[in-house]
Amino acid sequence: MCGIVGYTGARADRSVREVLLTGLSNLEYRGYDSAGVAIANGSLAVRKREGELPELKAAMEGGAEPVPDDGLAGIGHTRWSTHGPPSDANAHPHTDCGGRVAVVHNGIIENYRDLRESLAERGHEFESDTDTEVIPHLIEGALGQGDEFEAAFRRAVDRIEGSYAVAAVHADRETVHATRYRSPLVLGLDDDGYFLASDVPAFLEYTDRVVYLEDGQFASIRPSGAEITDERGSLVDVSVETIDWEPEDAGKSGYDHYMLKEIHDQPRAIRRCLRGRLRELDGAVEIDELGGLDRPKRVHFVACGTSYHASLYGARRFRERGIPSTAFLASEYDVGKIPIEEGTVVIGVTQSGETADTLTALREANSAGATTVTVSNVVGSSASREADHVLYIRAGPEISVAATKTFASQQVALTLLASAITGACDRDTLEALRSLPDHVQSVLDQSRAREIAAEYADAEMDAYFFIGRGYAAPVALEGALKLKEISYAHAEGFPAGELKHGPLALVTERTPVFAVVTGDSRAETMRGNINEVASRGAPVVAVTDSPEPLAADVDHVVPIPETDPRLAPILANVQLQLVAYWIARELGRSIDKPRNLAKSVTVQ
């Protein structure tokens, strides 16, 4: 997964170079192991560098030939390696043999080996290990046969199979051509310029008017206009949408890291998720956008990573209302072998709405005849268009690679969904939901996570374990995921009952254990589990809504406010997020951009 941008425009005060760099910097969350740009201006100026954006910026501004300010059109790319290691050569854009055509691409070209072989036979020379590089050579071949640039671009795209959002420029043209298939691509329209990008934040500070391209559509942008056509080249009627969030939603606002900002943003994010959906006076939850969705007979959740943990929690909330529900890892979801019966609803949970594994699972569920629902944070995302129904979690943009506020918002959204779909909601539950933003705020106001992190952030530790039962079990898994993502320490989470079936063998005084003990999690049994690890010398930190009975058994008690026991794990999770953040900080990690990871995984 990667991010691509393209721009052409006629404004004197806005250079192609500047727009591309801004766009790439706003897309860095999609990948950041290398980056590059190509700007057409009679000739083609291509610069690409392994490393983060400042490296690229230096390469563009310094050196013998700084990239000119007055290009006609340009494309850019920020990369997260799938084919070939991060290096200058493997960075995009890729060019043809003549250096006249440059291409950026997000996705995977499945038949690139065959294409590359046949191109090589015809004398094309390749400089990288990437799948992408076949595209400029295919375009070059078609141009050589007399095609116009646009026709050549279409012919090249015809040849490739797989998933792609791809954009191309030609040295002599002021046009950028682009298309997508199963990778995101959005067009931005301004009065004097046109933008293409994998995601809206790339150009949000220039314009909020966008068109989401569908699979198989082509976009051509030139300073005088933009057009969108279908596979056969016929013009398509499109609807222009206006983005209602502000570019400033994506600033650090005084925090050292986006992750910390987003952790502190949770009370507001949860408020937005709840807003207009609770009918306190009627005793119900209503979700406008889910009109026509009946009570399901059976629910399958499909999701990956943090969204999978939210799904485990969501499945429990559906089961508590009598609906058989199971959470599947999207990459393991195989409708051929998992029965979809009449009345089965498949719910895809994906923050970005672009997660390739989840998209594939939703598509298969659709074709198997299931009713599908997407739970996503991104309006207009691929998954939101794939499913029959969409529930937006309204967390606002999340930039840090490690998901925090979107996990909380997903849990809240799935709680709302379970209530809305099954009828009435009792007053205590409604009140607990309405109090949740303030309860999260109180955790943030009073957390001692920083001190605890300082005590256990130690390279001498062998591993960190997270345990919980019931509604708290998914939070134990998520706590471990967060810590490993950003601190690079080994961390595992499991339902506490599983301890004695294996993991206990690993427990020593160098394996701190974080136990989530909340109202529903059978505190007495948890106490037994805590004693199992404590008696083997492990330091124990209990995150709990009833501190007093545990205080004697553990090294630290991290309190959370008392609330509905089914919502308490959401509060416990905030403490674990803060612990992970401060441990990573103590260890000097990069936090917002952990090694080898990217925000939305658009490859399978």
Binding site: P267, R279, R434, D438
Partner: protein, 402 residues
């Protein structure tokens, strides 16, 4: 070039407003339903300020999370004052974020935009060809007694001749409204004004300019100017904003269309009801009630002359008059806050006959049927059990039984 940047001082706790400041600084306490600081920003933007530099310290997460990187499309730069070493020190913290002339203003007092405009206009163009003929600083003075709570100044023909941090003598001073247009020279003056304790006072810095040859102008002006010195002042501050029509800003404080109000509830104006609020049947809300975001008023509850902060619940049949609450407070079913006057104890001082029914800090939970003696202050996270009677000052994180 006109002054475009305002440095807003929002790093201090405001200890006299304890226990409301347990989790957030004074600028984040509610005036009507929005933080005081948000009103300050509104007036600055009205007056033409285009960039905000906010000095944060105590409880800075709350400020940063509330506003984010911009306010109404105006960029905010946050600078952190790690230790609270005076207003001058706070200003110096912002020095690297400021280029050229700027406005300095307290983030915990609300002045309407006409006062800000008067200061900016009187100060005039800072970048004159002759640097010595313009004022080094210009401050707003009000025709009100500076009775020891506030700084005062003497002014002669628009020129400030004397500045006092807290005037103690019998002479009559103009009140210093805490709004200063400044040239960069103010930074040097403040830097040089170091007290024995290492603190920097803004007033001492400006006094140095007054006593040197630099021109410090004072503009005597009028307009709404409000400040909460003690917790119960939040009531008068909020009501003054209601009466002055200062709640019409964009976005409006208290967007009633986004609240749920039962057909059989009665709202008596003036009342500010923020979004996500729920008011049950038979409830009577107002006059002079400000309900923060997501507050709940139960069936047949009666609420008058009170400022109720976000996420607070006033349960069925409760009666609440002259009350200030923090966030997440629960006033239980049938509880009674009968209203002032009452004697209020703050630290070692007792204030007699203040119109305060009760002050309940963040997340006080009352389980119902609780009677509040006028003037009661309850600390954060304290639980009041059913049927308890509370009076005086109840410390934080305690439990009160009947």
């Amino acid at each position: 070039m006109a002054i475009e940047t305002a440095v807003v001082l929002a790093a201090g706790e405001g200890t006299r407003l304890r226990p409301l400041t347990r989790n957030r600084p004074k600028p984040m306490l509610p005036a009507a339903t929005k933080p005081i600081l948000e009103h300050v920003f509104d007036q600055l933007l009205e007056a033409g300020i285009e960039r905000l530099v906010v000095v944060v310290g105590y409880g800075r997460n709350r400020v940063q999370s509330h506003f984010g990187p911009t306010y109404r499309n105006t960029p905010i730069t946050y600078v952190t004052q790690e230790s609270q070493l005076g207003t001058g020190h706070a200003l110096l913290t912002a020095e690297s974020a400021v280029d050229g002339s700027f406005l300095a203003i307290n983030g915990d007092q609300i002045a309407d935009d006409s006062i800000v405009r008067d200061v900016l206009e009187t100060h005039g163009d800072g970048s004159k060809a002759m640097p010595n003929d313009g004022p080094a600083a210009t401050l707003a003075l009000l025709r009100r007694p500076a009775d020891g709570e506030y700084g005062g100044a003497h002014v002669d023909d628009g020129r400030v001749t004397e500045l006092e941090e807290s005037p103690g003598d019998d002479r009559s001073y103009h009140l210093n409204a805490g709004i200063y247009a400044c040239e960069p020279a103010v930074f040097d003056a403040v830097r040089e004004a170091t007290s024995e304790t290492g603190e920097h006072s803004l007033i001492d810095g400006l006094s140095r300019l007054v006593s040197s040859d630099d021109l410090v102008r004072g503009v005597v002006t009028e307009g709404t100017w409000v400040d909460a010195t003690y917790p119960w002042d939040l009531l008068d501050v909020s009501f003054a904003l209601c009466d002055a029509g200062m709640l019409e800003a964009d976005p409006p404080a208290g967007d009633r269309s986004a609240a749920t109000i039962h057909d059989r509830a009665v709202v008596r104006e003036p009342a500010v009801i923020d979004r996500d609020c729920v008011i049950g049947p038979g409830a009577v809300v107002g006059p002079y009630v400000c309900l923060g975001e997501n507050a709940t008023v139960g069936s047949n509850a009666v609420l008058e002359r009170s400022v109720v902060d976000a996420d607070t619940t006033v349960a069925d049949n409760a009666t609440v008059v002259d009350c200030v609450t923090g966030t997440g407070v629960t006033i239980g079913a049938g509880s009674t806050v009968p209203g002032g006057p009452g004697d209020v104890r703050v630290g070692d001082r007792v204030f007699e006959d203040e119109s305060l029914g009760a002050l309940l800090a963040d997340r006080v939970t009352d389980h119902g049927g609780v009677a509040y003696v006028p003037g009661t202050i309850v600390g954060p996270d304290t639980e009041l059990r059913t049927g308890a009677t509370v009076r005086g000052t109840v410390p934080e994180r305690t439990e009160v039984w009947p």
